[in-house]
């Protein structure tokens, strides 16, 4: 009996349905941390890059990837950690950026701060702290609507 591998494009589509455990509005593919998917003989190898080196979500992310692919019938799976080149928010997809904004998190900007308040669109914003509820976010505040909000840091 000849086993046929699922297509690589299908695997990417499955991974695009796996939500980030900390920010479930976006998927692991949106986040840009899935760097490669390939078949090595009968083993599916998925290359994952960590966002921040100490991010506690990293092990949960690996668990979620494994669970999602096992559910699709993948038997032999290998998860490869790759730290070089380091993850950058430039790898976040445009769809991911739009989903973040809709979720109330200002997406990363090269200028180093949010373009506008994700709630009222005002450009009158100020930084509260470089660090926020997860390693990848900072705390900002809108001085028009007065709401605090998360900003996804640019790295």
């Amino acid at each position: 009996m000849v086993a046929t591998h699922p297509l690589i494009d299908d695997v990417w589509a499955w991974l695009a349905d796996v939500p980030d455990p900390e920010i479930p509005a976006i998927s692991l593919v949106d986040l840009g941390i899935i760097r490669d998917v390939q078949w090595l003989d009968d083993t599916l190898e998925v290359t994952v890059t960590p966002t921040y080196s100490g991010c506690p979500a990293t092990s949960i992310i690996n668990f979620e990837i494994e669970a999602a692919l096992r559910a699709k019938g993948i038997q032999n799976l290998s998860l490869k950690r790759q730290i070089s080149p380091p993850w950058t928010t430039d790898w976040m997809s445009d769809a991911g950026r739009a989903k973040l904004e809709a979720y109330g998190i200002a997406p990363p900007q090269p200028a180093g701060g949010p373009a506008h308040c994700p709630r009222c669109q005002s450009k009158a914003v100020e930084k509260i702290s470089q660090f926020g509820s997860t390693p990848c976010k900072a705390q900002w505040r809108c001085t028009d609507c007065l709401e605090p909000f998360d900003y996804f840091k640019c790295i």
């Binding site: 080196s53 730290i83 380091p86 790295i155």
Partner: protein, 240 residues
């Protein structure tokens, strides 16, 4: 050959990460508590990379956890600066500022290292440490150029910790790079920051030494390791 240098990097990030995490739940404001915990988390994450690679290259079957939890104080090779106690928030931020300023210089240089694995860890860490240095610099300026009380506390924190700066730049063959070449970059950032913070650099360049060589740690290291290692030593290979 690089094992000793990798252990030095990992031990400094580990001990400082553990120290900073002592603030969790105790910082003066929620934002500061979160910032300190995030910084500690980054440092512990970097430790896993440095000590992970050290263990791999040492080839004795020790992973990052084994190196962190099963060595005694005399086997640690961290800088003396990072094992110093937190004391007040001013001392904690001054220690962080001095470490971050050195750390970022080291990582930017190691990012160009011919050893690809060392360079990869440095590139990854430098991104995180850029945020650490930005924050601790802002904090030193805000507190130094703040109230009479905060200015006085930051100045005494500087006087207390400055004798631990010299060790970061001593030349030693076990370091991954020649640390002395980084001093001008460190001094430039230090001088600019202290000026804005209205703080005065101590005149004496006396330097306590013995942390990175392991010759003479301060009494504080044994205590912090006892806290950090008690669970894995009492319950080896515990899982939860």
């Amino acid at each position: 050959m690089s094992v000793a240098g990798l252990i030095r990097m990992g031990d400094s990030t580990l001990v400082l990460g553990q120290r900073v995490s002592e603030w969790c739940g105790h910082a003066p404001a929620l934002e500061e508590d979160i910032a300190l915990a995030n910084t500690a988390l980054d440092l512990i994450g970097q430790t896993q990379l440095w000590l992970g690679l050290a263990g791999e290259r040492e080839g004795q079957g020790q992973d990052a956890d084994a190196l962190a939890y099963r060595r005694d104080p005399w086997d640690f090779r961290n800088l003396l600066l990072v094992e110093q106690p937190n004391r007040d928030f001013g001392v904690t931020m001054m220690r962080q500022f001095l470490f971050d300023t050195w750390h970022l210089e080291v990582l930017r240089t190691l990012a160009q290292h011919p050893d690809a694995e060392i360079s990869a860890i440095a590139q990854k860490s430098a991104k995180e440490v850029t945020y650490h240095r930005e924050r601790s610099t802002d904090m030193v300026i805000a507190l130094g150029d703040g109230t009479e009380e905060s200015q006085q506390r930051m100045q005494s924190a500087l006087v207390r910790l400055y004798p631990y700066v010299g060790e970061m730049f001593t030349i030693d063959p076990d370091d991954l790079i020649d640390m002395a070449t980084l001093r001008p970059g460190f001094d430039a950032h230090l001088t600019a920051t202290l000026d804005k913070a209205t703080l005065t650099r101590p005149a004496s360049e006396f330097a306590h030494q013995g942390g990175k060589t392991g010759a003479r740690h301060s009494e504080h290291l044994g205590h912090i390791l006892a806290t950090m290692q008690s669970l894995p030593r009492s319950y080896p290979d515990a899982k939860w």
